[in-house]
Symmetry: C2
Subunit: 395 residues, 2 copies
């Protein structure tokens, strides 16, 4: 019995967490329920008065498959479905008519041939990345509608009537879904992407702000909460595919709020590429944080301050960049922090060049220096990434 109840309990606690993390999910579920109820009742009453007949169910189907979490995704699917149904309906009617002309015996042969060619060709088109990203669903619906219309086996006028009814019900379903999606607490993919980018940069900033203190700390005390906050950067490592999906959805969205139509969504992807690069470096830094090697007092004394400062200033610059994106305004603070980081990095480099190391060369342990040097070189690279992020944000 426990075998059945325990996974259900797990699911319930997962569900609770999901609802808490993002209450928009619950609202989304209610919105879908509402939209489906509306078209279902339309279907129910239509049946009583025999308006669209069996075709009315296409309205229900459209809402179920078209209604997605964000406005962009819903709009993309609706437009895909509407246009595909129209085009494939026309082409299907043409094929049906053509096959009809060839006489009863050859009709199935021609129809089979048409269906084979169209289905095969369009299926192959779905592999092309450019088409797949934005029109995958439309291509699928194209195949479906073409087959259902062309092979239906009705007379020409019946087919026209059917295609017409189907298109109308798809429009009814699609517009219901869109109306509820946009009017009731809309979720904009573009806004999500925007916040996500700002959030990711902020996470990197948090790590860098904390890194110096953590790396050079003397006592062995663990601050678990701080460590967990610092490890937030890990989600940035694999952010790419979600970003791309969101950017594709965002492109479908009309102008709203602070975002202009044709907002440069692709620029976000460029920023994220730099952010991700920076995250890789931070991941390497994190390994140093967990290494066992103790740092001698001498090295600590010399390098602690500049290393801490570079890391801290980079972190602060990133946090400023995050809030710059968030508020869509520019602040001079970013430049101040990066300038500070740059000058400290210069000092750090010079410090290593100086012969200040030679006097007590005897107790100098090179592996230790190398360890710290690895950290330094990563920090310098992170500074570079930070500058790149800054550039791409200001674009």
């Amino acid at each position: 019995w426990g075998k059945i109840t325990s996974p259900i309990k797990d699911l319930a606690s997962d569900a609770k967490k999901l609802a808490k993390d993002d209450p928009r999910r619950v609202i989304h579920a209610l919105k879908v329920g509402l939209a489906i109820t509306i078209v279902s009742l339309f279907y129910y009453f239509d049946h009583l008065y025999d308006g669209f007949g069996v075709n009315a169910m296409w309205a229900v189907m459209t809402v179920v498959v078209v209604f997605e979490f964000s406005v962009g995704a819903t709009l993309g699917r609706s437009v895909n479905r509407g246009i595909s149904t129209l085009l494939a309906g026309g082409l299907g009617f043409g094929a049906h008519h053509l096959a009809n002309l060839s006489g009863e015996n050859f009709e199935p042969v021609f129809l089979g041939l048409f269906v084979f060619i169209i289905a095969g060709f369009v299926t192959f088109l779905r592999f092309i990345p450019k088409l797949k990203a934005r029109y995958d669903y439309g291509l699928l619906i194209f195949i479906l509608t073409f087959c259902l219309i062309s092979v239906s086996g009705y007379r020409d006028d019946e087919v026209l009537n059917m295609a017409h009814k189907r298109l109308s019900t798809v429009l009814i379903g699609g517009s219901t879904a869109l109306a509820i999606c946009i009017l009731v607490c809309p979720v904009w993919a573009g806004e999500d992407l925007h916040n996500r980018v700002a959030n990711n940069i902020d996470k990197l900033g948090t790590f860098l702000e904390g890194f110096g203190g953590e790396y050079f700390k003397t006592s062995g005390s663990e601050n678990k909460e701080k460590k967990a906050a610092m490890e937030g950067y890990k989600s940035v490592l694999s952010t790419k595919s979600t970003d791309e999906t969101l950017a594709n959805f965002a492109k479908w969205e009309p102008r709203y709020g602070r975002f202009k139509y044709r907002h440069p969504w692709d620029q976000y992807l460029k920023i994220e590429a730099h952010v991700q690069e920076c995250a890789y470096r931070i991941d390497a830094l994190n390994t140093h944080l967990n290494s066992e090697l103790k740092i001698s007092n001498e090295i600590r004394e010399k390098l602690q301050e500049p290393c801490k400062k570079v890391s801290m200033e980079c972190g602060m610059a990133l946090k400023e960049l995050a809030s710059t994106i968030d508020s869509m305004t520019t602040t001079p603070n970013v430049d101040i922090h990066t300038a500070n980081a740059k000058s400290t990095a210069k000092i750090l480099k010079n410090m290593l060049k100086l012969s200040s190391w030679k006097d007590n060369d005897n107790n100098l342990d090179l592996p230790e220096i190398i360890q710290v040097a690895g950290v330094v070189s990563l920090l310098l690279e992170i500074l570079n990434c930070t500058l790149k992020i800054g550039d791409s944000v200001s674009e």
Copy 2:
């Protein structure tokens, strides 16, 4: 005019490349064409004899939406669709019956309530990651079938008849799709995942084998071909989401060829996690490769050999691991290479500890050492990753 033709030309050349890269895509398109033609003709002739009536179109729909590139994906969608149709059909019939009992006036109210609750609840379930990964499509079909059956507005016996016909046609469509998917040149998601993992490890190996020579090279000559091969590791950086999708598909697949049923697909994901970690380090190494800093002869003389050796041995170990995975046999060569790499790493560490640096300390440039030290510490980390990959492969 050029504005219209040039994107079409682009698409055509994309398509050509896709077909060349993986001819299975063309075969897939032909398979889909064949499957859809078969069920379309079934639909056509069924209409003539009025067997399943309008319900026959569900066979066509099922094939169109269920037929995916790999066997696992197709099987997953078919099973999802079949079971969901069955369950939702039963539940929908129950709801319909219940609403019927409540009398004509209250019927739409009850139906609306049922639909709202089920649609909202199931939509929310789709957010739960565990369910989303494997049953997302089934949950969607559940909502759809439940609405169409419960709200249909027919009499009980008509509804039963309809549900029965719909299930039969879904089965006909699903089994046609499955038969063609499995019998004609099947594409196994599990095999793809397997090859992908081996391939990714191989790419890392290629980079490491080439790295030593490239980093310490004296002439400025560029070997573009080699460089391109080395940069192959970049695709490994963002491999995670595709891996997860493939693993999910693979779990649906029955036993075939060299893979047992319940082959440990999750183990592949663990290996890939280590591979990805290693790829991040390699990405950091690659930055060093592109840096402007010249290496002095003294450092080159001292560090060239051990650095080259560690990199080379790691690369060879990874390549051995890749072919181990590929052939599913174990070779002792991996251990030999990792042992070599480990002992050289020890020498490298010792070398840095030795006071061999002190005599000509005067012309020793610390930034340069730091640069090289960064490389060394990355190499040591990569060695660690390699060992982890080795462990997880042998599991």
